[in-house]
Amino acid sequence: MTAQSNETTAYTEPGIKGMVSDWVGDKQVFDMPWGKLMMWLFLLSDTFIFSVFLTGYMNVRLSATDSWPNTSEVFALTIFGSHLPLVLIAIMTFILITSSGTMAMAVNFAYSGNKRVTVILITLTAILGASFVGMQAFEWSKLIEEGVRPWENPFGAAQFGSAFFMITGFHGLHVTGGVIYLLVVARKVARGDYDKKGYAIVEIVGLYWHFVDLVWVFIFAFFYLW
């Protein structure tokens, strides 16, 4: 918080030269609150976890000799008499994107000092996240009822079940954890815990939430659409 602004310590020079001076200068390398840097490092490690799951899924799908279940049909629903392919997953995708939007707004309002709107937007994000988890629970129950297990399923290659439960389950856990995290931060913002410290925490929880949305983009593309 000591704003030093002489030439060797300022974080103003762009590009490669700026990066070199960040690393060699007599200062901390990353120009951000430590919590934000720690969140970024956590998200980097989480990227590896999800990538390994998706790579495992790719591997078993490539090597399966039975035909892979047609996800378009497996996740189809009949709503008001019309048969819609993959519709629940599409709705879940839109909900998560909407929640990312409200989260981005929350960060914006937090930095401009509007506490009330920030709390409302974070809570709204948490509610959308919770509804996402609810739909996932519905989807899981539906598939389990239809006989999908990690070791077998009536639609095709047995590996489908293990990949599905593992990947969507781990993502669902992240969303659930995110909802709790959001609610905790919302309560603390409302209580005024950050009035003196500044609102970087909202940006940090936002990074986590956007990451969960980011992972869903990949799951949606590779698991559901491919």
Partner: protein, 105 residues
């Protein structure tokens, strides 16, 4: 370093990106809805996926405005993942061919 100098940008850009993400998601869903198949399907899925991921990372997560020091920390290590995916794709293909050879079918 100051805590208050966090990422602050005009609200309009978030709204525009939000809208764009909605449109891109709708396009991804359309790929399945109209049952496009083969290389066209895979290409479109990947294009929409990378556009969405890029927008979320660059704008919502503010990576576009972060310093190069952080950008490199985020984007260099995942190169290892590209190697892993390549190796596992080769391996999966090999397992598939081996199974065709040895399974009683």
């Amino acid at each position: 370093m100051s805590e208050e100098a966090g990422q602050q940008h005009p609200i309009g850009i978030y709204l525009k990106i939000w809208l764009l993400l909605f449109v891109l998601s709708a396009f991804s869903y359309m790929v399945d809805f109209f049952q496009l198949q083969g290389y066209l399907r895979w290409t479109l899925i990947l294009v929409f996926m990378f556009l969405k991921a890029g927008l979320i990372l660059a704008i919502f997560m503010h990576v576009a405005w972060e310093r190069l020091s952080l950008q490199y920390v985020l984007f260099v290590p995942p190169i290892a993942l590209v190697v892993l995916v390549t190796l596992m794709a080769i391996e999966g293909d090999y397992t598939f061919l081996t199974r065709l050879d040895f399974f009683d079918r």
